[in-house]
Symmetry: C2
Subunit: 602 residues, 2 copies
């Protein structure tokens, strides 16, 4: 079989490895900020192997080239890696560095393993060192074998950043910096290094256009008790923003100088950094006599708790997002069977409806538009190769979100395109019970997400069903759609110490998947809010803020108890009464029907 373009690239890398006496090269799917999304400039694995999934690790030796990725990408990777010279290695546990075990077994004493130290976290570097150094294997962090070969590499994006006004952020940068400094003093940190771009955006009330789905300017910051250093590409800072930064005493420095600044911190000082978002190279730049405090960053903890302005704004955004979704589902119902609608064309149409809304800047992640068996794949994203045409029967799952100046949305609805059968209705309703039961919980202050997650699963478990992903993630405020530190999941993921706090915005997305057939997921966002004080302490609850009808045709009412049914009917009443005012009469009438009360089945 003729060698394809990727196998030629692999040969090129191997030739360079030989020259540099490198026995194994690790290529991560990351940029120097180690976030979820990366610009095309950093999509090295796609260029090198043809694999287009968002998460993978490549390892190349003289005789082997493998790509480690998790189960959601197994089928896609098999296809895309065909004839590339790379073989798929299936991760047993997602997002774990299982390639390290492989290296430990294969690379002999005296060998050298290379990785671009900007693209691997300090935490993962430690695992690599622990595995390889005792076996006498050397690590080279300063090698870049890609740049010389990737001649037509996309440049870094150069769209301008912009200031986010206080009417959206709800708090001035100066006030945020003060709060961060107070916490730094409590933690005895003289400096804090911010490497996650969303931390920097939040702190400085800036947004950028470097990524497709998150409004981020890729940048670093260093905060001390009297200075804020901001490392960014000066060309992307418009002069008005530059003037504002100057006024606030924020020092703009070239993006590339962060490492050098870190390497000159004075002896005896202390530096707070997060080992999961700080690159190995930056971490190694810290002078030996500077004390490193490893912790989740202070902005990460602070921005998880939305302020009053952010909460008010998001509630307004939810109205607009709900109107767009209502228009979309109305359009879908009216046109299915009349014109050709595919997963991709439906996604575009939805984006167009969102585009009509005020302050919409783009989708918050790649839309999961999934018909029938595609809906059984929790992270399916259609592409030209898989794009399915929607028929007059079956199941259509739509997981999408929008970025608005006032906030970030993330919603999943599943609708039946024809008459659903008994098992479909039962499956849908059991997962919906989870969405509702979690939304209704009232819990004492001090509760962590993993303590209440079972409420989202219990109805499924009672029926021998389950789903293989977490139940809830934090959501940013016109920032990343996935934001920590809070999660509602089993403890394996997420920060065990984080309490659910009033002001946190979290998703609620139980699901059920029938491989090869269909999948159901109903996802809302809710804010954690105060409930009441009793003799037994302070209690919290959730306030669901997503506004879009849930398909009544899929509800098997005999499976809902009285409280669940009341929740659903009340929710539908809210959806109608809030969205109705923004809809044309015919659409309003249509939504009235979609949200009419469901009668108990007795």
């Amino acid at each position: 079989m003729a060698k394809n373009i990727y196998s030629r690239r692999l040969a090129g890398v191997r030739a360079l490895m030989k020259k540099k006496r490198t026995d194994a090269l690790i290529v991560p799917s990351a940029d120097p900020h180690l976030g979820e999304y990366v610009p095309d400039h950093w999509r090295v694995i796609r260029w090198l192997t043809g694999f287009s999934g968002s998460s993978a690790t490549v390892v190349i030796t003289g005789s082997f080239a493998g790509l480690w990725t998790d189960s959601r990408y197994f089928i896609q990777a098999e296809e895309q890696l065909k004839d590339s010279g790379f073989e798929l290695v299936k991760l047993r546990v997602p997002h774990t560095p299982e390639h390290i075990e492989w290296l430990q077994a294969k690379i002999k004493k005296g060998g050298t393993v290379a990785v671009d130290g900007r693209l691997i976290s300090a935490g993962n570097m430690r695992l690599l060192e622990d595995a390889l150094l005792p076996a006498g294997v050397k690590l080279d962090l300063k090698v870049d074998l890609i740049t010389p070969l990737w001649t037509e590499r996309p440049p870094m994006p150069n769209d301008k950043a912009f200031a986010l006004p206080v009417k959206f952020s709800g708090e001035s940068g100066a006030a945020k910096i003060n709060r961060v400094r107070e916490k730094m003093a409590m933690m005895k940190a003289d400096y804090q290094l911010l490497t996650a771009a969303d931390d920097v955006m939040w702190l400085l009330n800036i947004r950028g256009k470097d990524l497709r789905y998150s409004p981020l300017l890729l940048s670093f910051a260093v905060v001390s008790s009297d200075q804020v250093l901001f490392f960014a590409d000066e060309d992307k800072i418009p002069s008005s923003l530059k003037a504002e930064l100057d006024k606030e005493g924020i020092v703009l420095l070239p993006y590339d100088t962060v490492s050098s600044v870190i390497s000159h911190l004075e002896e005896g000082s202390s530096l707070l950094l997060s080992p999961s978002t700080t690159s190995a190279l930056l971490c190694k730049a810290v002078p030996k006599k500077v004390k490193i405090i490893e912790e989740v960053s202070i902005p990460t903890r602070l921005k998880a708790i939305k302020n009053k302005t952010e909460i008010k704004n998001l509630k307004e955004v939810m109205v607009r997002d709900g109107v767009a979704l209502t228009k979309f589902f109305h359009w879908l119902e009216k046109n299915i069977g009349r014109e050709t609608i595919t997963e991709l064309s439906a996604s575009s149409r939805l984006e167009a409806f969102r585009q009509e809304q005020k302050d919409f800047t783009g989708p918050s992640f790649a839309t999961i538009a999934a018909y029938n068996e595609h809906a059984a794949l929790p992270h399916y994203v259609p592409d030209e190769g898989t794009d399915a045409r929607l028929g007059k029967s079956g199941i259509f799952l739509l997981d999408s979100g929008g970025q608005y100046f006032g906030g970030t949305t993330d919603i999943t609805r599943t609708v039946a395109l024809g008459k659903p059968d008994r098992r479909m209705k039962s499956d849908f309703t059991l997962a919906l019970k989870g969405t509702i039961d979690l939304a209704m919980v009232r819990f004492p202050y001090g509760t962590r997400g993993y303590q209440i997650e079972v409420l989202a699963r219990k109805a499924l478990w009672d029926n021998g069903l389950n789903y293989g992903h977490g139940t809830g993630h934090g959501v940013g405020s016109f920032l990343n759609v996935h934001e920590g530190p809070q999660t509602i999941g089993s403890a394996a993921s997420g920060d065990m110490k984080t309490f659910l706090e009033p002001g946190m915005l979290i998703s609620d997305e139980p699901a059920v998947y029938r491989q090869g057939e269909y999948g159901f997921r109903t996802e809302n966002l809710f804010f954690c809010i105060d409930d009441r004080e009793t003799d037994h302490g302070r209690f919290l609850k959730f306030d669901t803020v997503t506004l879009c009808f849930i398909d009544r045709e899929l509800v098997e009412v005999s499976l809902l108890d009285d409280r669940e049914l009341k929740w659903l009917n009340d929710y539908h009443e809210t959806v109608f009464s809030v969205l109705g005012d923004f809809l044309e009469p015919d659409l309003r009438k249509w939504l009235r029907d979609k949200t009419r009360p469901i009668k108990p089945n007795k």
Copy 2:
């Protein structure tokens, strides 16, 4: 005010401290096995301060003497420490070494802190070292300032140990040793040090009489691929047991030689030990070139999963325990108001009913017999000072357990002695819903206890109530009534990695407490068992094995849903049908009435 005996002892300790140039002395409430119960010989804190609670830490300096304990003992400690020279320091978080912070703040550079290194775990020693060594404070682990002063110290118990026949253990010692060795090989451990006496008992199928509530012989063991060394007081090993040990190749060595044996392990070998049950002194005896593997011990993990014989035996024990409890509650109902019954006399009476049962050896913990406001204290144990007389109205909570050759029991029932009011019935029933809802859960294999705990709390949380302790603990098989590694609690306690596995025996004890008024707790034990296999994997459930009626008078039936009411009626039917055969006709009739079905309130 005249100095009391404890302040004289304190003065004696201080004089010795001065002589030894010790700035601070830490006195833990532990013996060298670091278990929950200790023999009188090791109740140093009671001798020194007068405080009789089970858990505390004393710190003495020249100018201060404090006793750190948790909230369950605050009132008792205030009273018992009066005029002792010791002051109560209230722990914010139970079972945490908060005295270390105090020492860190108070002891100056160059100072010396002493603690008997046999009585502090390697884990806690590390915390102490991390806090004090960088500040230039020295630690002395080899000091014993108590023995010279405690002239009438009770000797170590000298009752003989005995072999537990395979008809009770269900597996020979040889087979257990083989299984432990297999796991050691997987963990690459050449040696394993067993310091928890119940681990040693389980492994060798031995029981002892060193402790009041647990059938343990205080002993250590070291397991290697070809040897088992057993460190115990030879005088307590009867010759028949000695012969059996010899036959199995188990080498009996003097109790005190464990440290010396450990210190002679060969260079390059590896030793598995548990840092929470291994003393600092034993840990420090390990030669530098021996690799220490810190993990929960293998016997702890293996014995948590009961074998078929143990399960069958415990179910038989539950019948006997249930008969004793039925007789007790019948006696209580018939005699309350006719004779003087107090918390202590009721406890004795209950023990007498258990004594009538086959193979009963004693209570498995100090009986919590608590009337009215005493029942609001989760860990109340009556003594002569607090003993309350039971009246014809009010609430009586009884938390007790028995040790039988066939297993260990732990049960709580709360009964109304007169007509309960509305709030009592509501409180009782909301906590009971927790007991039932947890007992009914069905969950996938791989679930950990903290994931399902909310089911025991949800009904209380919905009503602004809660309880301040965990929900479930593991229970030994004729061993400790509290046994790890599994728990059903919030994650803060317990081993995060432990799955719930078929064969585990666990308590289910939600509760509600009204300070100064009363408390309710219904506690059953259940086994984790297999439920079914579905497309979505292997599912488990619980099988409740405790057999004793639940007071119908306290049940507010309108608060139970159909499934909960069915569970309760089914449970009562089982209790009657199983226990009925073992009761005299009048008692049988009485139990029939106590277990008659409750009709739905519609």
